[in-house]
Protein backbone atom coordinates (compact mmCIF):
# COMPACT_ATOMS: atom_id res chain seq x y z
CA UNK A 1 0.00 0.00 0.00
CA UNK A 2 1.27 3.44 -0.90
CA UNK A 3 2.22 5.73 1.94
CA UNK A 4 0.50 8.66 0.32
CA UNK A 5 -2.06 8.32 -2.40
CA UNK A 6 -3.84 11.16 -4.08
CA UNK A 7 -6.23 11.02 -6.97
CA UNK A 8 -7.72 13.94 -8.82
CA UNK A 9 -6.82 16.57 -6.25
CA UNK A 10 -8.39 19.91 -7.00
CA UNK A 11 -7.91 23.05 -4.96
CA UNK A 12 -9.67 26.30 -5.62
CA UNK A 13 -9.68 29.60 -3.86
CA UNK A 14 -12.59 31.87 -3.35
CA UNK A 15 -11.14 35.23 -4.29
CA UNK A 16 -12.72 38.59 -4.71
CA UNK A 17 -12.65 38.13 -8.47
CA UNK A 18 -14.22 34.70 -8.42
CA UNK A 19 -13.09 31.12 -8.03
CA UNK A 20 -9.43 30.51 -8.79
CA UNK A 21 -8.25 26.98 -9.45
CA UNK A 22 -4.73 26.57 -8.16
CA UNK A 23 -4.57 22.79 -8.52
CA UNK A 24 -6.52 20.97 -11.14
CA UNK A 25 -6.84 17.23 -10.82
CA UNK A 26 -3.45 16.05 -9.69
CA UNK A 27 -2.63 12.41 -8.96
CA UNK A 28 0.24 11.40 -6.78
CA UNK A 29 1.41 8.32 -5.05
CA UNK A 30 4.40 7.75 -2.86
CA UNK A 31 5.81 4.76 -1.06
CA UNK A 32 7.90 4.53 2.03
CA UNK A 33 11.53 5.25 1.25
CA UNK A 34 10.63 7.11 -1.92
CA UNK A 35 11.98 10.51 -2.79
CA UNK A 36 9.55 12.36 -5.02
CA UNK A 37 10.36 15.77 -6.45
CA UNK A 38 7.69 18.16 -7.62
CA UNK A 39 9.00 20.78 -10.03
CA UNK A 40 7.26 23.58 -11.78
CA UNK A 41 7.43 27.26 -12.14
CA UNK A 42 6.20 29.72 -9.62
CA UNK A 43 2.47 29.61 -9.06
CA UNK A 44 2.01 26.21 -10.58
CA UNK A 45 0.35 24.94 -7.45
CA UNK A 46 3.13 22.91 -5.91
CA UNK A 47 2.82 24.33 -2.43
CA UNK A 48 -0.94 24.45 -2.49
CA UNK A 49 -1.18 20.79 -3.36
CA UNK A 50 1.04 19.76 -0.46
CA UNK A 51 -0.51 22.17 1.98
CA UNK A 52 -3.86 20.62 1.20
CA UNK A 53 -2.44 17.26 2.17
CA UNK A 54 -1.25 18.71 5.45
CA UNK A 55 -4.54 20.50 5.96
CA UNK A 56 -2.81 23.83 6.25
CA UNK A 57 -4.68 25.79 3.63
CA UNK A 58 -6.65 28.83 4.68
CA UNK A 59 -10.39 28.60 4.96
CA UNK A 60 -10.89 30.27 1.59
CA UNK A 61 -9.51 27.14 -0.06
CA UNK A 62 -11.81 24.41 -1.33
CA UNK A 63 -10.16 21.02 -1.56
CA UNK A 64 -11.62 18.02 -3.31
CA UNK A 65 -10.12 14.69 -4.29
CA UNK A 66 -11.27 11.25 -5.29
CA UNK A 67 -8.68 9.64 -3.09
CA UNK A 68 -6.51 11.23 -0.47
CA UNK A 69 -5.06 8.64 1.77
CA UNK A 70 -2.09 8.69 4.05
CA UNK A 71 -0.84 5.47 5.57
CA UNK A 72 -4.29 3.96 5.41
CA UNK A 73 -6.11 6.98 6.78
CA UNK A 74 -8.53 8.86 4.60
CA UNK A 75 -7.43 12.43 4.94
CA UNK A 76 -10.67 13.79 3.50
CA UNK A 77 -12.86 12.54 6.32
CA UNK A 78 -10.49 13.30 9.14
CA UNK A 79 -11.68 15.48 11.98
CA UNK A 80 -9.47 18.37 12.94
CA UNK A 81 -8.62 16.60 16.14
CA UNK A 82 -7.54 13.37 14.50
CA UNK A 83 -5.63 15.22 11.85
CA UNK A 84 -3.57 16.92 14.53
CA UNK A 85 -2.52 13.50 15.78
CA UNK A 86 -1.00 12.75 12.38
CA UNK A 87 0.24 16.12 11.23
CA UNK A 88 3.55 16.92 12.83
CA UNK A 89 4.03 13.34 13.89
CA UNK A 90 3.70 10.95 11.00
CA UNK A 91 3.58 13.60 8.36
CA UNK A 92 5.80 16.64 8.71
CA UNK A 93 6.63 19.62 6.57
CA UNK A 94 9.42 22.15 6.29
CA UNK A 95 9.23 25.42 4.47
CA UNK A 96 11.15 27.72 2.22
CA UNK A 97 11.99 30.62 4.53
CA UNK A 98 13.80 29.27 7.58
CA UNK A 99 14.08 32.75 9.11
CA UNK A 100 10.36 33.43 9.21
CA UNK A 101 9.17 29.90 9.71
CA UNK A 102 10.43 29.78 13.25
CA UNK A 103 8.64 31.75 15.91
CA UNK A 104 10.89 34.70 16.78
CA UNK A 105 9.58 34.88 20.34
CA UNK A 106 10.56 31.44 21.53
CA UNK A 107 13.81 29.59 21.89
CA UNK A 108 14.79 26.80 19.59
CA UNK A 109 14.55 24.41 22.50
CA UNK A 110 11.01 25.43 23.29
CA UNK A 111 9.93 24.98 19.72
CA UNK A 112 11.44 21.57 19.35
CA UNK A 113 10.33 20.29 22.72
CA UNK A 114 6.81 21.45 22.04
CA UNK A 115 6.39 18.82 19.33
CA UNK A 116 7.80 16.16 21.59
CA UNK A 117 5.46 17.04 24.39
CA UNK A 118 2.41 17.20 22.24
CA UNK A 119 2.92 14.09 20.19
CA UNK A 120 5.03 11.85 22.35
CA UNK A 121 4.11 12.96 25.85
CA UNK A 122 7.71 12.90 26.92
CA UNK A 123 8.57 14.39 30.27
CA UNK A 124 10.78 17.39 30.67
CA UNK A 125 14.14 15.72 30.91
CA UNK A 126 13.34 13.20 28.20
CA UNK A 127 12.29 16.02 25.92
CA UNK A 128 15.49 17.81 26.57
CA UNK A 129 17.53 14.79 25.90
CA UNK A 130 15.74 14.09 22.68
CA UNK A 131 16.02 17.71 21.55
CA UNK A 132 19.76 17.62 22.04
CA UNK A 133 19.88 14.36 20.18
CA UNK A 134 17.94 15.86 17.29
CA UNK A 135 20.14 18.92 17.06
CA UNK A 136 23.18 16.69 16.99
CA UNK A 137 21.55 14.63 14.30
CA UNK A 138 21.01 17.66 12.06
CA UNK A 139 24.57 18.74 12.63
CA UNK A 140 24.29 21.69 14.94
CA UNK A 141 27.35 22.20 17.07
CA UNK A 142 27.04 22.72 20.81
CA UNK A 143 23.38 21.67 20.88
CA UNK A 144 22.93 22.16 24.60
CA UNK A 145 23.55 25.86 24.55
CA UNK A 146 21.82 26.24 21.21
CA UNK A 147 18.58 25.14 22.78
CA UNK A 148 18.48 28.49 24.52
CA UNK A 149 19.06 30.47 21.36
CA UNK A 150 16.41 32.44 19.54
CA UNK A 151 15.99 32.05 15.78
CA UNK A 152 17.41 35.47 15.04
CA UNK A 153 20.64 34.50 16.76
CA UNK A 154 21.32 31.85 14.19
CA UNK A 155 22.01 31.81 10.49
CA UNK A 156 19.54 30.79 7.82
CA UNK A 157 21.19 27.44 7.31
CA UNK A 158 21.15 26.71 11.03
CA UNK A 159 17.51 27.66 11.23
CA UNK A 160 16.69 25.34 8.40
CA UNK A 161 18.46 22.59 10.30
CA UNK A 162 16.33 23.36 13.31
CA UNK A 163 13.24 23.19 11.13
CA UNK A 164 14.36 19.79 9.95
CA UNK A 165 15.05 18.66 13.50
CA UNK A 166 11.55 19.72 14.44
CA UNK A 167 10.07 17.89 11.48
CA UNK A 168 11.85 14.63 12.15
CA UNK A 169 11.37 14.84 15.91
CA UNK A 170 8.66 12.18 15.94
CA UNK A 171 10.26 10.08 13.18
CA UNK A 172 7.65 10.86 10.56
CA UNK A 173 6.73 8.46 7.81
CA UNK A 174 6.49 11.29 5.34
CA UNK A 175 8.43 14.53 5.15
CA UNK A 176 7.36 17.24 2.76
CA UNK A 177 10.06 19.79 2.06
CA UNK A 178 8.72 22.87 0.31
CA UNK A 179 11.68 24.50 -1.42
CA UNK A 180 13.83 23.98 1.65
CA UNK A 181 16.96 25.49 0.15
CA UNK A 182 15.73 28.27 -2.10
CA UNK A 183 16.57 30.93 0.43
CA UNK A 184 20.03 29.62 1.07
CA UNK A 185 23.42 29.94 -0.54
CA UNK A 186 24.54 27.10 -2.75
CA UNK A 187 27.16 25.90 -0.30
CA UNK A 188 24.57 25.78 2.44
CA UNK A 189 22.03 24.32 0.06
CA UNK A 190 24.38 21.46 -0.55
CA UNK A 191 24.75 20.77 3.16
CA UNK A 192 21.01 20.86 3.74
CA UNK A 193 20.27 18.60 0.80
CA UNK A 194 22.92 16.18 1.94
CA UNK A 195 21.44 16.20 5.39
CA UNK A 196 17.94 15.56 4.12
CA UNK A 197 19.08 12.74 1.90
CA UNK A 198 21.05 11.17 4.71
CA UNK A 199 18.11 11.36 7.09
CA UNK A 200 15.84 9.93 4.47
CA UNK A 201 18.19 7.08 3.83
CA UNK A 202 18.68 6.44 7.55
CA UNK A 203 15.01 6.47 8.51
CA UNK A 204 13.46 5.25 5.32
CA UNK A 205 10.80 7.89 5.41
CA UNK A 206 9.01 9.10 2.31
CA UNK A 207 10.26 12.48 1.14
CA UNK A 208 8.51 14.92 -1.12
CA UNK A 209 10.80 17.64 -2.33
CA UNK A 210 9.17 20.67 -3.83
CA UNK A 211 11.52 22.77 -5.90
CA UNK A 212 11.85 24.81 -9.01
CA UNK A 213 15.51 24.08 -9.29
CA UNK A 214 16.13 21.33 -11.83
CA UNK A 215 19.57 20.78 -10.39
CA UNK A 216 18.12 19.95 -7.01
CA UNK A 217 15.80 17.47 -8.65
CA UNK A 218 18.67 15.80 -10.34
CA UNK A 219 20.60 15.57 -7.12
CA UNK A 220 17.83 14.22 -4.89
CA UNK A 221 14.82 12.63 -6.50
CA UNK A 222 13.91 9.07 -7.38
CA UNK A 223 10.81 10.15 -9.18
CA UNK A 224 9.70 13.52 -10.50
CA UNK A 225 6.35 15.19 -11.01
CA UNK A 226 6.33 18.19 -13.34
CA UNK A 227 3.57 20.62 -12.71
CA UNK A 228 2.38 23.53 -14.79
CA UNK A 229 -0.52 25.87 -14.11
CA UNK A 230 -2.07 23.53 -11.60
CA UNK A 231 -1.79 20.45 -13.79
CA UNK A 232 0.57 17.56 -13.77
CA UNK A 233 2.53 17.56 -17.00
CA UNK A 234 4.20 14.27 -16.46
CA UNK A 235 5.54 11.91 -13.89
CA UNK A 236 8.64 9.88 -14.41
CA UNK A 237 11.70 8.38 -12.84
CA UNK A 238 14.42 10.94 -12.57
CA UNK A 239 16.69 9.38 -15.14
CA UNK A 240 13.83 8.87 -17.55
CA UNK A 241 12.83 12.47 -17.21
CA UNK A 242 16.24 13.82 -18.01
CA UNK A 243 16.97 11.37 -20.70
CA UNK A 244 13.68 11.31 -22.47
CA UNK A 245 11.18 13.88 -21.32
CA UNK A 246 7.76 13.04 -22.65
CA UNK A 247 5.86 16.26 -22.21
CA UNK A 248 6.76 19.12 -24.53
CA UNK A 249 6.66 21.33 -21.48
CA UNK A 250 9.30 19.31 -19.73
CA UNK A 251 11.39 19.29 -22.81
CA UNK A 252 11.24 23.04 -23.09
CA UNK A 253 12.01 23.40 -19.41
CA UNK A 254 15.12 21.34 -19.67
CA UNK A 255 16.19 23.12 -22.80
CA UNK A 256 15.93 26.46 -21.05
CA UNK A 257 18.59 25.44 -18.58
CA UNK A 258 21.65 27.55 -19.31
CA UNK A 259 23.95 24.59 -18.75
CA UNK A 260 22.19 22.78 -21.52
CA UNK A 261 22.58 25.74 -23.82
CA UNK A 262 23.86 24.81 -27.18
CA UNK A 263 23.78 27.93 -29.29
CA UNK A 264 24.37 31.47 -28.14
CA UNK A 265 20.67 31.89 -27.42
CA UNK A 266 18.51 29.78 -25.12
CA UNK A 267 15.43 28.05 -26.43
CA UNK A 268 12.39 29.82 -25.05
CA UNK A 269 9.27 28.23 -23.66
CA UNK A 270 6.32 29.61 -25.49
CA UNK A 271 2.90 29.49 -23.96
CA UNK A 272 1.70 25.93 -23.52
CA UNK A 273 -1.77 24.74 -23.20
CA UNK A 274 -1.53 22.75 -20.01
CA UNK A 275 -4.32 20.45 -21.23
CA UNK A 276 -2.54 19.22 -24.29
CA UNK A 277 0.99 19.33 -22.93
CA UNK A 278 0.14 16.90 -20.17
CA UNK A 279 1.23 13.33 -20.52
CA UNK A 280 -0.74 10.74 -18.63
Amino acid sequence: MALLEIKNLTVSFDTSVGLFHAVKGIDLSLDRGDVLAIVGESGSGKSVAMLSVMGLLPRTAKVSADVMRFDGTDLRELSAHDRRRIVGKDMAMIFQEPMTSLNPCFTIGFQIEEVLRFHLNLDRSARRKRAIELLTQVGIADPESRLRSFPHQMSGGQNQRVMIAMAIACSPKLLIADEPTTALDVTIQKQILDLLMKLQADTGMGLIMITHNIGVVAETADRVVVQYKGRKMEEAGVLELFEAPKSPYTRALLAALPENATGDRLPVITAFDPETAAVR
Binding site: S16, V17, G18, F20, S42, G43, P58, T60, E179, T182, A183, D185, H212
Partner: protein, 301 residues
Protein backbone atom coordinates in the same frame (compact mmCIF):
# COMPACT_ATOMS: atom_id res chain seq x y z
CA UNK B 1 19.65 35.41 -3.08
CA UNK B 2 16.69 34.51 -5.11
CA UNK B 3 13.24 34.60 -3.75
CA UNK B 4 10.53 33.50 -6.09
CA UNK B 5 7.78 36.03 -5.91
CA UNK B 6 4.26 34.95 -6.48
CA UNK B 7 3.14 35.72 -9.95
CA UNK B 8 0.21 38.01 -9.55
CA UNK B 9 0.39 40.11 -12.62
CA UNK B 10 -1.82 38.33 -15.05
CA UNK B 11 -4.61 38.11 -12.54
CA UNK B 12 -7.80 40.04 -12.90
CA UNK B 13 -6.81 42.78 -10.48
CA UNK B 14 -4.17 43.71 -12.98
CA UNK B 15 -6.76 45.25 -15.23
CA UNK B 16 -8.03 47.63 -12.61
CA UNK B 17 -6.43 50.98 -12.09
CA UNK B 18 -5.34 51.88 -8.56
CA UNK B 19 -8.24 54.19 -7.85
CA UNK B 20 -10.85 51.88 -9.29
CA UNK B 21 -9.39 49.00 -7.37
CA UNK B 22 -9.46 50.93 -4.14
CA UNK B 23 -13.04 51.88 -4.77
CA UNK B 24 -13.87 48.28 -5.57
CA UNK B 25 -12.56 47.02 -2.27
CA UNK B 26 -13.99 49.99 -0.43
CA UNK B 27 -17.44 49.43 -1.86
CA UNK B 28 -17.35 45.81 -0.70
CA UNK B 29 -17.32 47.09 2.86
CA UNK B 30 -20.88 47.86 3.89
CA UNK B 31 -19.88 49.81 6.96
CA UNK B 32 -17.57 52.01 4.98
CA UNK B 33 -20.22 52.75 2.39
CA UNK B 34 -22.70 53.59 5.13
CA UNK B 35 -20.10 55.91 6.62
CA UNK B 36 -19.59 57.54 3.28
CA UNK B 37 -23.31 58.07 2.78
CA UNK B 38 -23.70 59.64 6.22
CA UNK B 39 -20.65 61.77 5.68
CA UNK B 40 -21.92 62.99 2.32
CA UNK B 41 -25.23 63.88 3.90
CA UNK B 42 -23.45 65.79 6.61
CA UNK B 43 -21.37 67.67 4.11
CA UNK B 44 -24.51 68.56 2.15
CA UNK B 45 -26.21 69.70 5.32
CA UNK B 46 -23.18 71.75 6.21
CA UNK B 47 -23.08 73.40 2.81
CA UNK B 48 -26.77 74.10 2.56
CA UNK B 49 -27.56 74.74 6.20
CA UNK B 50 -28.46 78.43 5.66
CA UNK B 51 -31.19 77.33 3.26
CA UNK B 52 -32.44 74.14 4.77
CA UNK B 53 -32.26 74.98 8.47
CA UNK B 54 -35.77 75.82 9.67
CA UNK B 55 -34.59 78.72 11.82
CA UNK B 56 -31.77 81.16 12.22
CA UNK B 57 -29.45 79.33 14.64
CA UNK B 58 -28.92 82.48 16.70
CA UNK B 59 -32.57 83.49 16.77
CA UNK B 60 -33.91 83.54 20.30
CA UNK B 61 -37.55 82.69 20.74
CA UNK B 62 -38.62 84.37 23.93
CA UNK B 63 -41.08 82.28 25.78
CA UNK B 64 -39.91 79.07 24.11
CA UNK B 65 -37.04 78.25 26.39
CA UNK B 66 -36.17 74.57 26.75
CA UNK B 67 -39.00 73.26 24.61
CA UNK B 68 -38.71 69.48 24.37
CA UNK B 69 -38.56 67.69 21.00
CA UNK B 70 -41.83 67.33 19.06
CA UNK B 71 -42.42 63.74 19.95
CA UNK B 72 -42.30 64.48 23.62
CA UNK B 73 -45.09 65.94 25.66
CA UNK B 74 -44.90 69.71 25.55
CA UNK B 75 -43.09 69.66 22.22
CA UNK B 76 -43.65 72.31 19.62
CA UNK B 77 -43.99 71.47 15.93
CA UNK B 78 -41.76 74.40 15.06
CA UNK B 79 -38.83 72.89 16.92
CA UNK B 80 -38.26 69.32 15.87
CA UNK B 81 -35.44 68.64 18.30
CA UNK B 82 -36.67 71.22 20.80
CA UNK B 83 -34.98 74.41 21.89
CA UNK B 84 -32.09 75.21 24.16
CA UNK B 85 -31.94 77.22 27.34
CA UNK B 86 -32.59 80.51 25.59
CA UNK B 87 -35.08 79.40 23.01
CA UNK B 88 -32.90 78.64 20.00
CA UNK B 89 -33.89 75.82 17.69
CA UNK B 90 -31.59 72.87 18.33
CA UNK B 91 -32.06 71.34 14.88
CA UNK B 92 -30.99 74.55 13.17
CA UNK B 93 -28.04 74.88 15.49
CA UNK B 94 -27.00 71.32 14.77
CA UNK B 95 -27.21 71.92 11.03
CA UNK B 96 -25.10 75.01 11.25
CA UNK B 97 -22.82 73.24 13.71
CA UNK B 98 -22.06 70.66 11.03
CA UNK B 99 -20.27 73.46 9.20
CA UNK B 100 -17.97 73.98 12.15
CA UNK B 101 -17.21 70.30 12.47
CA UNK B 102 -16.43 69.93 8.80
CA UNK B 103 -14.37 73.10 8.86
CA UNK B 104 -12.45 71.97 11.92
CA UNK B 105 -11.75 68.58 10.42
CA UNK B 106 -10.67 69.99 7.09
CA UNK B 107 -8.48 72.76 8.45
CA UNK B 108 -6.85 70.67 11.13
CA UNK B 109 -6.12 67.81 8.79
CA UNK B 110 -4.74 70.14 6.14
CA UNK B 111 -2.41 71.90 8.51
CA UNK B 112 -1.19 68.84 10.30
CA UNK B 113 -0.96 66.79 7.12
CA UNK B 114 1.15 69.33 5.29
CA UNK B 115 3.35 70.01 8.30
CA UNK B 116 3.70 66.36 9.16
CA UNK B 117 4.48 65.30 5.62
CA UNK B 118 7.16 67.90 5.14
CA UNK B 119 8.81 67.16 8.46
CA UNK B 120 8.50 63.41 8.12
CA UNK B 121 9.79 63.48 4.59
CA UNK B 122 12.81 65.55 5.53
CA UNK B 123 13.53 63.39 8.56
CA UNK B 124 13.10 60.09 6.77
CA UNK B 125 14.94 61.16 3.66
CA UNK B 126 17.99 62.82 5.13
CA UNK B 127 18.22 60.82 8.37
CA UNK B 128 21.17 61.65 10.58
CA UNK B 129 21.01 64.67 12.84
CA UNK B 130 18.14 66.31 10.93
CA UNK B 131 16.08 63.24 11.61
CA UNK B 132 17.13 63.13 15.23
CA UNK B 133 16.28 66.79 15.72
CA UNK B 134 12.87 66.60 14.10
CA UNK B 135 11.95 63.39 15.83
CA UNK B 136 13.03 64.67 19.24
CA UNK B 137 10.78 67.68 18.70
CA UNK B 138 7.94 65.35 17.82
CA UNK B 139 8.73 63.34 20.94
CA UNK B 140 8.44 66.48 22.98
CA UNK B 141 5.01 67.21 21.60
CA UNK B 142 3.97 63.62 22.14
CA UNK B 143 5.24 63.65 25.70
CA UNK B 144 2.31 65.84 26.68
CA UNK B 145 -1.25 64.58 26.75
CA UNK B 146 -2.68 66.00 23.56
CA UNK B 147 -5.76 67.54 25.10
CA UNK B 148 -3.77 69.17 27.86
CA UNK B 149 -1.28 70.58 25.40
CA UNK B 150 -4.05 71.85 23.16
CA UNK B 151 -5.71 73.35 26.19
CA UNK B 152 -2.62 75.23 27.25
CA UNK B 153 -1.96 76.31 23.68
CA UNK B 154 -5.45 77.68 23.31
CA UNK B 155 -5.03 79.49 26.58
CA UNK B 156 -1.82 80.99 25.29
CA UNK B 157 -3.28 81.93 21.94
CA UNK B 158 -6.61 83.01 23.36
CA UNK B 159 -9.84 81.05 23.09
CA UNK B 160 -11.48 80.87 19.72
CA UNK B 161 -12.18 78.41 16.98
CA UNK B 162 -9.19 79.20 14.83
CA UNK B 163 -6.75 78.97 17.70
CA UNK B 164 -8.35 75.73 18.78
CA UNK B 165 -7.86 74.35 15.30
CA UNK B 166 -4.24 75.43 15.29
CA UNK B 167 -3.61 73.83 18.64
CA UNK B 168 -5.25 70.58 17.62
CA UNK B 169 -3.35 70.57 14.36
CA UNK B 170 -0.13 70.98 16.27
CA UNK B 171 -0.79 68.09 18.58
CA UNK B 172 -1.94 65.81 15.76
CA UNK B 173 0.93 66.71 13.53
CA UNK B 174 3.59 64.39 15.05
CA UNK B 175 1.50 61.39 14.08
CA UNK B 176 1.73 62.41 10.46
CA UNK B 177 5.40 63.17 10.76
CA UNK B 178 6.14 59.79 12.31
CA UNK B 179 4.02 57.93 9.85
CA UNK B 180 5.53 59.72 6.89
CA UNK B 181 9.00 59.17 8.23
CA UNK B 182 8.45 55.46 8.74
CA UNK B 183 6.96 55.10 5.28
CA UNK B 184 9.75 57.13 3.72
CA UNK B 185 12.40 55.06 5.43
CA UNK B 186 10.74 51.88 4.27
CA UNK B 187 10.38 53.17 0.73
CA UNK B 188 13.82 54.71 0.63
CA UNK B 189 15.50 51.33 0.75
CA UNK B 190 13.30 49.98 -2.02
CA UNK B 191 15.03 49.45 -5.30
CA UNK B 192 12.85 51.74 -7.35
CA UNK B 193 14.22 54.65 -5.37
CA UNK B 194 17.75 53.59 -6.13
CA UNK B 195 16.65 53.20 -9.74
CA UNK B 196 15.39 56.75 -9.79
CA UNK B 197 18.66 57.86 -8.27
CA UNK B 198 20.57 56.02 -10.94
CA UNK B 199 18.27 57.66 -13.47
CA UNK B 200 19.55 60.97 -12.15
CA UNK B 201 16.75 62.22 -9.94
CA UNK B 202 17.72 64.94 -7.47
CA UNK B 203 16.72 65.17 -3.80
CA UNK B 204 13.52 67.12 -4.33
CA UNK B 205 12.34 64.87 -7.10
CA UNK B 206 13.18 61.77 -5.10
CA UNK B 207 11.36 63.11 -2.08
CA UNK B 208 8.23 64.46 -3.63
CA UNK B 209 7.84 62.70 -6.94
CA UNK B 210 9.34 59.30 -6.32
CA UNK B 211 8.86 58.51 -2.66
CA UNK B 212 5.96 60.57 -1.40
CA UNK B 213 3.24 59.17 -3.70
CA UNK B 214 4.07 55.73 -2.43
CA UNK B 215 3.51 56.78 1.17
CA UNK B 216 0.06 58.19 0.69
CA UNK B 217 -1.93 55.11 1.58
CA UNK B 218 -1.20 55.17 5.32
CA UNK B 219 -1.39 58.94 5.25
CA UNK B 220 -4.86 58.91 3.75
CA UNK B 221 -6.00 56.55 6.45
CA UNK B 222 -4.36 58.62 9.15
CA UNK B 223 -5.85 61.78 7.69
CA UNK B 224 -9.30 60.28 7.87
CA UNK B 225 -8.80 59.17 11.42
CA UNK B 226 -7.34 62.55 12.32
CA UNK B 227 -10.38 64.21 10.85
CA UNK B 228 -12.45 62.46 13.46
CA UNK B 229 -9.91 63.09 16.21
CA UNK B 230 -9.96 66.76 15.31
CA UNK B 231 -13.72 66.89 15.64
CA UNK B 232 -13.59 65.07 18.95
CA UNK B 233 -10.77 67.21 20.30
CA UNK B 234 -12.43 70.42 19.19
CA UNK B 235 -15.63 69.27 20.84
CA UNK B 236 -13.68 68.46 24.00
CA UNK B 237 -12.10 71.91 23.96
CA UNK B 238 -15.51 73.43 23.35
CA UNK B 239 -16.76 71.36 26.24
CA UNK B 240 -14.03 72.81 28.43
CA UNK B 241 -15.03 76.27 27.24
CA UNK B 242 -12.06 76.93 25.00
CA UNK B 243 -13.38 76.20 21.56
CA UNK B 244 -15.73 78.20 19.40
CA UNK B 245 -16.99 81.40 20.95
CA UNK B 246 -20.65 82.30 21.40
CA UNK B 247 -23.02 82.34 19.70
CA UNK B 248 -21.37 79.86 17.31
CA UNK B 249 -23.39 76.64 17.39
CA UNK B 250 -20.38 74.35 17.63
CA UNK B 251 -21.44 70.95 18.91
CA UNK B 252 -19.00 70.65 21.78
CA UNK B 253 -19.88 74.12 22.96
CA UNK B 254 -23.56 73.27 22.77
CA UNK B 255 -22.87 70.29 24.98
CA UNK B 256 -20.90 72.37 27.44
CA UNK B 257 -23.71 74.90 27.65
CA UNK B 258 -26.16 72.13 28.28
CA UNK B 259 -24.29 70.53 31.13
CA UNK B 260 -26.45 71.98 33.84
CA UNK B 261 -29.55 70.45 32.25
CA UNK B 262 -28.20 66.96 32.58
CA UNK B 263 -31.02 65.94 34.87
CA UNK B 264 -33.73 68.21 33.56
CA UNK B 265 -33.68 68.54 29.78
CA UNK B 266 -32.12 65.42 28.30
CA UNK B 267 -32.44 66.58 24.72
CA UNK B 268 -30.06 69.52 24.97
CA UNK B 269 -27.36 67.06 25.99
CA UNK B 270 -28.23 63.94 24.13
CA UNK B 271 -28.80 65.39 20.70
CA UNK B 272 -25.56 67.33 20.14
CA UNK B 273 -23.58 64.44 21.61
CA UNK B 274 -25.30 62.06 19.25
CA UNK B 275 -24.43 64.34 16.37
CA UNK B 276 -20.78 64.21 17.33
CA UNK B 277 -20.86 60.45 17.78
CA UNK B 278 -22.56 59.81 14.45
CA UNK B 279 -20.20 62.09 12.57
CA UNK B 280 -17.10 60.65 14.14
CA UNK B 281 -18.40 57.13 13.66
CA UNK B 282 -19.10 57.77 10.00
CA UNK B 283 -15.62 59.12 9.43
CA UNK B 284 -14.02 56.26 11.29
CA UNK B 285 -16.02 53.80 9.23
CA UNK B 286 -14.67 55.45 6.12
CA UNK B 287 -11.18 55.37 7.58
CA UNK B 288 -11.42 51.66 8.31
CA UNK B 289 -12.81 51.00 4.87
CA UNK B 290 -9.99 52.95 3.29
CA UNK B 291 -7.41 51.17 5.34
CA UNK B 292 -8.68 47.80 4.28
CA UNK B 293 -8.98 48.89 0.68
CA UNK B 294 -5.52 50.37 0.60
CA UNK B 295 -3.76 47.62 2.50
CA UNK B 296 -2.60 45.02 0.02
CA UNK B 297 -1.99 42.49 2.75
CA UNK B 298 -5.62 42.34 3.74
CA UNK B 299 -6.74 42.41 0.14
CA UNK B 300 -4.97 39.27 -0.83
CA UNK B 301 -6.30 36.96 1.78
Amino acid sequence: MSAPVAETAPRKSGSMSGLRETWFYFSQNRGAVAGLVIMSLLVLIAIFSPWIAPHDPARIYNGSFLVPPVWQEGGDARFVFGTDAIGRDILSRLMHGARYSMLIGAVVVSISLVGGIVLGLIAGYFRGWVDALIMRIMDIILAFPSLLLALVLVTVLGPGLFNAMLAIALVLQPHFARLTRAAVIAEYSREYVTSAKVAGAGHLRLMFVTILPNCVAPLIVQATLSFSSAILDAAALGFLGLGAQPPAPEWGTMLADAREFILRAWWVITIPGLAILVTVLAINLIGDGLRDALDPKLKRS
